[in-house]
């Protein structure tokens, strides 16, 4: 089955790498700055949101997933989905008991 030409076809240029690198540094700076500001419940959301965005940039560009096959993308999605299931369903137990601890 020959949908395997990704390597031969697409070489990501260093320019893109530099841009992503810069974005990652900016993201890190913002995340550090935001932790010093009291935004209430938004603090963890922003921190995780920035972390997810940085991770997405690394996955898409440094790890070439933007130019990869559907199978690769599906595989990553499956892994993330299952991770969410582990966290989410375990938390569903904890959230609905140990009332005093929350």
């Amino acid at each position: 089955m020959s949908e395997n030409k990704e390597h031969a076809l697409h070489i990501v240029s260093p320019r893109i790498y530099v841009i992503i690198f810069a974005l990652l540094l900016v993201g890190t700076a913002i995340t550090i700055w935001a932790s010093y500001v009291d935004l209430g419940v938004l603090n963890p959301i922003i921190a995780l949101g920035i972390a997810c965005s940085k991770a997405t940039l690394v996955v898409l560009f440094f790890m070439h997933v933007k130019y990869a096959t559907k199978l690769t993308k599906l595989t990553i999605f499956a892994g993330l989905f299952l991770f969410m299931a582990l966290v989410g369903m375990t938390l569903s137990d904890y959230i609905s008991r140990a009332w005093g601890s929350w």
């Binding site: 020959s2 030409k5 009291d38 940085k54 440094f62 790890m63």
Partner: protein
């Protein structure tokens, strides 16, 4: 069927002359082989996601249960050191990506340089990590027999706690800081172990790269290692805000 074995030997021998040395016999062509190993690497990274996933689950539960304790405990971590480490790792991801590009474009000396830079940055990360760890050991913040609650019961006795302006914690809350450090050491320790393995492989790769092993068109090893290295970076991208930046206000 069985009488074809005589022909079989002939067919296989002819095939030998035509393919690159690194093509294994059970693959038709290099694309299939490279594609298969790339997919295999991603599946392996999935196992790593689920492996760290257990730790993240534990962390999320206990951080929500014991938030004040986690906040105080996290003030023991140094943001300059952690931030600098994040810088080192992100840069090492950049140099690794550039290394893969050099392999793809057959730039041997470029590849070797990038690998060496990644190696040094990785070592730097581990160096700073060991400084952080030794600090924890000195202050008796390692979970287990010698764990000390002093920094949290009496923040003025501790420079980091004082600088963060912490109030003294009640005893039962202070006890939960040990859980924070358990998860801190488990998560950063597991991460550091993966870094050590990665740096070891990098050392091996630097030798092979200078011999031209990866710039002859067969870049699979470098590419797949790159995936591993970026993954380790991504774990840190999450560990840094979760452990260091819980709340600094």
């Amino acid at each position: 069927m069985s009488d074809n074995s005589a022909i079989a030997d002939g067919v296989l021998e002819n095939a030998h002359d035509e393919h690159p040395a690194h093509l294994r016999h059970h693959f038709h062509d290099v694309e299939q082989q490279a594609d298969a190993s790339n997919f295999a690497m991603w599946l392996f990274l999935l196992t790593e996601v689920m492996f760290f996933g257990g730790l993240f689950t534990a962390y999320l539960i206990y951080r929500n249960w014991y938030y004040p304790a986690f906040v105080s405990a996290s003030h023991q971590l140094s943001i300059p050191l952690g931030g600098f480490n994040t810088l080192l790792l992100i840069t090492s991801s950049f140099t690794m990506a550039m290394g893969v590009w050099c392999a793809e474009t057959r730039r041997k000396s470029g590849l070797v340089l990038c690998l060496i830079l990644t190696f040094i940055l990785g070592l730097g990360f581990l160096g700073i990590k060991s400084i952080e760890y030794s600090e924890k050991i000195e202050k008796h913040h390692v979970p287990g027999f010698h764990y000390s609650l002093n920094s949290f019961l009496d923040p003025d006795s501790d420079a980091a706690a004082k600088a963060a302006g912490d109030k003294p914690l009640p005893l039962d809350v202070a006890r939960h800081t040990e859980l924070y450090f358990s998860l801190y050491f488990a998560m950063t320790g597991m991460h550091a172990l993966h870094m050590i393995i990665g740096i070891g492989i990098l050392g091996f790769m630097i030798f092979r790269a200078s011999a031209g092993a990866y710039t002859g068109g067969h870049i699979t090893f470098v590419e797949n290692f790159g995936l591993y290295w970026h993954f380790v970076d991504i774990i840190w991208i999450f560990l840094f805000p979760l452990l260091y930046l819980i709340s600094r206000h």
